[in-house]
Amino acid sequence: MTTLIYDGTFEGLLTAVFDVYAHKLGNVKLHQGEYLEGTLFDEKLHVVTDQTRAARVLKLLKLKLSTLGVQRLYAAHLAEIPGEDNNLLGFIRYAIDSPENIEEDYGNKYVMRISEIVRMVRREKHRMEAFIRFQKLRDGLFYAAIEPDFNVLPLLIKHFKSRYADMKWMIYDLRRKYGIYYDLHDTQFITLDFAESNRQTDIVAAYTEDENMYQHLWKNYFKSVNIASRKNTKLHVRHIPKRYWKHLTEKI
């Protein structure tokens, strides 16, 4: 058993795959981070992320999988779900070792697991597309804060860029402390540097004059469309789990 230690990036993962084949390693475990304690008897190998090697592996994967298959693998990696490294590696090795495209072999445990991860990530992405609430600030910027379960912000760019093409907007992931900003031409990743505690009050202070009115109208609308005689709280909470409520205007 060899433990490969890599930096957690997609290029790092692909370089690790390169090393597995270069050193003809059979039984391997993948570990994210810099150090690894307590594996005295295992062999350890540090993966040095290498763009060229990563690119070679990616090229091979593009031959073995469909375009969609490669995208799905990337989305699964992006999710950053702890402990899934070995499933990603397993999937890639299975894809490379098989003569034909295996991405629909749901009987295989790696293929199935990747498909489950992708489903979770897609659902989170879809939820963000639904639950993001922009607040209009005085300088014309539409701002939204999110705290998604997985790192889906990069997957949101396309949707919001094509939808809100005529306004400046920013979506900020409070949990991962970075955001995307659209300036009417392009989007870029940004980090904001302000204290956690007074953030929301800062935002409220910067509202345009009609922001409160539209929030109020929306809350009212939400109440008006409810049909009391059909109340079904269980269904309601299944659709909007409580952890999303604090950023939803109508649930605050």
């Binding site: 295996i102 629909e104 939808r163 005529d166 306004m167 109208l217 049909i227 059909r230 269904l235």
Partner: protein
């Protein structure tokens, strides 16, 4: 001066809030919330697009909130017994201006509250007058505000073909509500209306949609015409039609008018009327749910309507879903070997949905599937196990009758409607 302006602004906000409350409340019994099925793209750096549909929120009764669903006005010249806005009902009346609806839509859309607008209306003055206002809202959104979000307009029966044509050019979806599943039911509750009036705009639009789709094939630049098609709604439980009549009527409209969706709205008793169920009657939610399940079987699972309901079987089972119900009436079709059967038959197995059926068919090319595989693919094995075999020595060997299977499944599953069941059992 500034103070006066602020004051006026407040007045305005209060008045709009009041109107929104009244006109959203009156519109909520229209159950359609779909914002999918269109393919409108954002053009010229405008605002919005419409494609797959997103539910931006859910009401406390668990329904999707996707569109700003409002009436332009709840003033109405008709007196339909089932409708809150009927002429003789003593309620608060209100009306939006065209500009107010446009502002609300744009501002809600920019904040990502909604996918677009669903605009309906009571009939004021006459059909053309009303339809003209609805069209004007859509036109203003599209032409003046470069808005490409989703717009659903009601087609008002009796409106001129010119207006219907214009509506199709600006809206993504149009709908006429049939209200009651049969003409007799409609005559009972809305003597002024007839299905014939509703069929007229429906068939005009059907033909216009076909024509525009043909043009679009020839000229890429040809304008879109109601790209999300037409839908309709029937109210169930207000009149005595059985499920057989309702589903056959729905099937007729799907086939003859190429409707995208038929919505079934369980009657919510809001009005005292001798022709209607009493005010304390509960909403037929289970029945409504079963009708939707049957509708999906017809549209997506390859079932013919008469396999689900017919003269021998005029009602859908309330305690089990229509697919399971069909399966236990047709035990001679089972068991199905998931490793060999074609997709069409796998789709008919209770406990297997469209996604897992497709996964099964893809995955079995690589190797035979067993129970563990099926479970991970999302098959509800608890149900499916009575109807399938797979790569395993374990399978249902007893020659169970349909009713025995029903008992086994009911005993192990917890229906979300359990609390409703006792009252129904008391009837027998």
């Amino acid at each position: 001066m500034l103070k006066i302006l602020v004051f006026l602004n407040c007045m305005d906000a209060d008045r709009i809030t009041e109107k929104l409350n009244i006109l959203a409340d009156a519109a909520k019994y229209d159950v359609s919330c779909a914002s999918s099925g269109s393919k409108r793209k954002n053009e010229n750096k405008g605002l919005g697009n419409a494609s797959n549909g997103i539910c931006h929120s859910y009401t406390e009764d668990g329904r999707c909130v996707s569109l700003l669903k409002i009436l332009l006005t709840n003033h109405c010249i008709f007196d339909c017994a089932y409708c809150v806005s009927r002429k003789s009902n003593d309620i608060q009346r209100a009306a939006f201006t065209v500009q107010e609806v446009v502002d609300l839509t744009i501002n809600f859309y920019r904040r990502n509250y909604i996918e677009g607008l669903f605009l309906s209306s009571g009939i004021f003055k006459d059909a053309d007058f009303t339809m003209e206002r609805l069209v004007r809202v859509a036109k203003k959104l599209r032409l003046e505000h470069n808005f490409h979000g989703y717009i659903h307009l009601k087609s008002i029966p009796g409106a001129s073909d010119e207006l219907m044509n214009e509506a199709g050019l600006y809206a993504d979806r149009l709908s006429v509500n049939l209200e009651m599943p049969t003409e007799a039911g409609l005559k009972l509750l809305a003597p002024d209306k007839s299905h014939q009036d509703m069929i007229k705009p429906m068939s005009y639009l059907k033909n216009a949609i076909i024509q525009h789709t043909e043009e679009k094939k020839l000229f890429k630049k040809a304008p879109m015409f109601a790209p999300a098609g037409q839908s309709t709604q029937v109210i169930i439980g207000a009149t005595p039609e059985d499920d057989n009549q309702i589903l056959h009527s729905a099937n007729y409209f799907y086939k003859s008018f190429k409707l995208r969706r038929v919505y079934y709205s369980g009657y919510v008793p809001v009005l005292e009327d001798s022709r209607l169920p009493a005010l304390n009657t509960s909403v037929p939610m289970v029945r409504e749910n079963r009708l939707y399940q049957a509708d999906w079987l017809m549209r997506n699972y390859g079932f013919h309507v008469s396999e689900i309901v017919n003269n021998q079987q005029p009602h859908l089972d309330l305690d089990i879903d229509p697919k399971l119900s069909w399966a236990i009436r047709n035990m001679h079709e089972f068991p199905v070997d998931v490793n060999r059967a074609d997709l069409k038959m796998i789709l008919r197995v209770p406990g297997i949905g469209i996604l897992s059926a497709q996964k099964i068919v893809s995955a079995r090319k690589f190797g035979k599937l067993n129970w563990e595989h099926l479970k991970r693919m999302g098959v509800s094995v608890n149900r499916a196990k009575y109807f399938i075999t797979c790569q395993s020595k374990e399978f249902e060997r007893r020659d169970l009758t349909g009713s025995a299977i029903k008992q086994f499944i009911l005993a192990t599953s917890h229906s979300k409607y359990n609390k409703n069941v006792p009252t129904q059992l008391n009837l027998f």
